[in-house]
């Protein structure tokens, strides 16, 4: 006897260790490709013989609905030595053997193996069909007599080995139908097609058609199965749920038990534990034990045993096997993250580069996502634009099974110049994991350049740049100069003297020039440095510039927006003084309101407001478009606007005058 029978273990093991269908759905219209292969060395003892090593190689490819798998067994054959009775030859006295071949040949060893298994599985919904082919090779070593004449009528017979090999393919077919947690399998095995023309004459492995029935309970996480064929009955189970503590990677444990139901009595038990080290490598260890009580077989039993191998291979003799190896998974498919888009809302169809910090903290929309899986879904929400004008990546989002959650969508806009022309872009919202991504939705977006203004006075604050080095240099120099001038003025008991001189210095060279008429709907605002360079601007340009210079030396400011009486759903830019709408500036003098007497202000020349420190201070209106005519003119024009729009027209009460602190 040689090492052997182990193949049977793995025939059973391979059936027992059917690859688990992962919890993955596929993107419609794409062909997913997944590849895995494994190297599983094993050490076995068989029928009390010395231990030996052998190796199983596995491979599996999944293409859409088809799964192809194969197994190759190296150094794993079973050889039986045949103890033949002595050959007795009766020679007649005058006899002569003229035809030695007429002596019946007797084999003294028989080796068979199943070196290769190939299977194809087709799955469609709840139905799957499986066909497999097992290659069977059998080598018989015959003892062929050879007569040699030594003397007259004296012969010697020598036995010389002669190899006799045949190969054939064994086919089996089965189908499985799944209904919720129940799967019923039925099929047939034992159909043989010879690959060689030689007849199988000695110890034939006769194929016999054998039915197969199996019932499986449970889901992908936990399963229990009963299988029956004509010669065996098996129970098996597997679980992944209880071991889900390896950082989201699921170890899998399988247990199995089988017993012979035919002529041969045997039992076997086994386990397999697969531990994913990461998403690619899985370490697999298994053990298998056969409890049989026969280490040798009678000629008749051996013939019956061989006949079964071609139909339904079974173990008979005691054996022990342990194995440890690795399986590698490569997934080139774009699998679906188990989240479904329920609804999406986008509040901004136009975004303005100047307000990029606003979009970083204020959602431009939201998506409602639902976890369709049975496990928590971890992913990141990503937004990409075709023109790379907007981007967003969320932190890690975890949705519990069956959880529906509304997730905000933000935007990060780069500070790029678009030459004043709005760019129409398309944003793609996707859920992304380390290796997978799923496109959820797209939406159109118009991106305006850094000088475009949405007409909302609140947005003017995004054009302020109090930290710009050039502006800082300008305003600090002006402030120093104003400080010197205020100090020289011996009559400057008025605490407003410094502010007055500063505003006069910074605004005296600015001229009001309206925006180009081509940008009627989308108004444009200059950044303070641009106004400093050009010395011109329209009212919001001058408000932004003056506010920036004042704020860069510590004054608080607010914008007063006077809007025309228009229908509520109509937006109008405030571009030209007195024509469409207008903005002017409120400047916090920093003087406590209790010291109003020192300023000499009249009742309508100032308002009392809280500053950022919560103090009630005197705020004065400044009409920035009149700064070129000096502080007094700008102040008196501001007072006039305030009186007309706030006191006379009750603008705040009616809603067409709005105030925004910068």
């Amino acid at each position: 006897m040689t090492k052997g029978f182990i193949f049977l273990l793995f025939c059973w093991s391979s059936a027992f260790a059917q690859p688990t269908e992962p919890d993955i759905t596929y993107l419609a219209g794409r062909t997913p490709v997944r590849l895995s292969f494994g190297i599983l060395p094993a050490l076995s003892t068989f029928a009390g013989q010395s231990p030996f090593f052998w190796t199983r190689l596995t491979g599996q490819v999944t293409l859409d609905q088809f799964t192809f798998n194969s197994q190759v067994f190296l150094n794993q054959s079973q050889t039986f030595s045949i103890k033949n009775p002595p050959l007795l030859i009766n020679l007649p006295a005058q006899g002569t053997i003229v035809n030695p071949s007429s002596i019946v040949n007797q084999p003294n060893s028989l080796e068979f193996q199943f070196p290769f298994i190939f299977g194809v599985k087709w799955t469609s919904g709840d139905l799957s069909l499986l066909g497999s082919m097992t290659v069977l090779t059998k080598k018989t070593i015959l003892q062929k007599p050879e007569l040699n004449s030594q003397e007259e009528n004296l012969y010697t017979v020598t036995w010389k080995p002669d190899n006799y090999s045949v190969a054939s393919g064994l086919f089996s077919f089965s189908g499985a139908w799944t209904l919720n947690w129940l799967t019923v399998t039925t099929g047939v095995s034992g159909l043989s097609i010879p690959f060689s023309s030689k007849p199988d004459t000695v110890y034939k492995m006769k194929p016999v058609l054998s039915p197969l029935i199996g019932i499986r309970f449970g889901t992908n996480g936990n399963q229990a199965e009963v299988k029956w064929t004509a010669s065996r009955l098996g129970f098996s189970g597997k679980t992944t749920e209880k071991f889900n503590f390896f950082g989201g990677l699921k170890p899998e444990l399988k247990l199995g038990y089988e017993t012979g139901t035919g002529k041969f009595s045997w039992q076997r038990a086994g386990f397999e534990f697969a531990l994913p080290l990461n998403r690619i490598i899985t370490i697999t260890t298994s053990g298998d034990w056969v409890f049989g009580n026969k280490h040798s077989l009678s000629d008749q039993n051996f013939r019956e045993f061989l006949a079964l191998q071609a139909a339904n291979p079974i173990p008979i003799l005691s054996s022990s096997t342990v194995s440890i190896g690795f399986t590698f998974h490569f997934d080139a498919s774009e699998r679906n993250i188990p989240v479904r888009l329920i609804d999406s809302r986008f509040y901004q169809s136009s975004v303005y580069t100047a307000k990029r910090s606003f979009y970083s903290y204020n959602p431009v929309g939201s998506v409602d996502l639902y976890n369709t899986g049975e496990d928590p879904a971890e992913f990141e929400l990503i937004i990409r634009s075709k023109n790379k004008l907007a981007f967003y990546q969320s932190g890690k989002v975890t949705l519990a099974p069956s959880e529906l959650r509304s997730l905000p969508v933000y935007l990060y806009l780069p500070d790029t110049s678009l030459s004043g022309i709005p760019v129409h872009d398309q944003l793609e919202v996707a859920a992304v994991t380390e290796n997978l991504q799923k496109r959820l939705t797209t939406f159109p977006l118009t991106v305006y350049d850094r000088n475009s203004w949405d007409g909302d006075t609140f947005s003017l604050k995004y054009f302020l740049s109090t930290q710009d080095p050039d502006l800082l240099s300008f305003s600090k120099s002006a402030y120093l100069f104003a400080l010197t001038e205020a100090g020289k003025d011996s009559t400057a008991s008025n605490p407003l003297s410094l502010l007055e001189k500063f505003i006069s210095l910074t605004g005296s060279r600015l001229q009001y020039v309206p925006d180009p008429t081509s940008t009627f709907i989308t108004d444009r605002v200059q950044y303070p440095v641009e106004t400093l360079r050009r010395k011109v601007g329209d009212c919001e340009d001058l408000v932004v510039f003056t506010a920036s210079t004042l704020m860069s030396v510590g004054y608080n400011c607010a914008v007063v927006d006077i809007r025309p009486n228009m229908p509520e759903n109509m937006q109008a830019p405030t571009a030209q003084a007195g024509s469409i709408g207008h903005v002017f500036l409120l400047v916090d003098t920093g003087i406590p309101v209790t010291q109003t007497g020192q300023t000499g202000f009249g009742e309508f020349q100032f308002v009392t407001r809280r500053n950022k420190l919560g103090e009630f201070t005197i705020w004065i209106p400044i009409e920035t478009t009149a700064l070129s005519e000096g502080f007094k003119k700008a102040f008196s024009e501001g007072v006039r606007h305030y009186y007309d729009e706030v006191i006379v027209n009750n603008g705040v009460e009616k809603g067409h005058v709005q105030i925004y602190d910068l």
Partner: protein, 240 residues
Amino acid sequence: MYKSMIYKTLAVVFFISLIVNSEQASAQEKLWIKLEKGSALVLNPTTSEWIPLSSKDQVPVKTFLLTKPDSKLIVFRETTVYETPADGYFFAEDLFSKTRNELVSALVRIETSQLPAGSPPSSDKPVVGLTYGKEKELETKNDEVPFLKERKNAIIWFSKQKKYDSALLSIKRLMVKYPELYKNQDQVNVLLSLYEKLELYGYLYDESSRLMTQKTADEFDQMVIKWNDVAKKQLTGRRE
């Protein structure tokens, strides 16, 4: 083509709104006054200059009048004659009798006239941190409030004349402009009592509730709590 039509429509809307606005601005109501005795002045709202009134004169309705001691100034509005306090400082429009709705509307306009900041945009990233710098020299002198004596005189005079609406608007105008006066118990008491007299319990409750959050003297606190209780009882319909 459609764009052109939209622009034209917008232009027409703007034009009409401009006309309406300009008419509103220029159509501010004027009042005839008669100065029977002493002297009085009117504040030019745009130049902030005080202009002496002649014996018969016309003044804008939305400005302040200042009467000197022993003066007698009479204001005419249509066929109604209004007497005014001597040695007083008051807003001309506050003289007129008002319905309850007009009174509430006037209170709203007084509060919004100081351009209070809207609620801070919750959408902004909160800015935290300290501001370091030289501490300002803050002196809180009530006598820095211009015409404080005359303002108080006017309020007292209106109250004595049982013109509680005029008194309320005058003191409200004063305290909104100079919120430091909310720390003055007497001023606050006058304000709250006027709310009560005019049955403006909502205002009484709001103002007293807000004042209850600021730390003041015990007596002041008790007074505010008393007014708050009065407002609560009236608003909830409770009876002792």
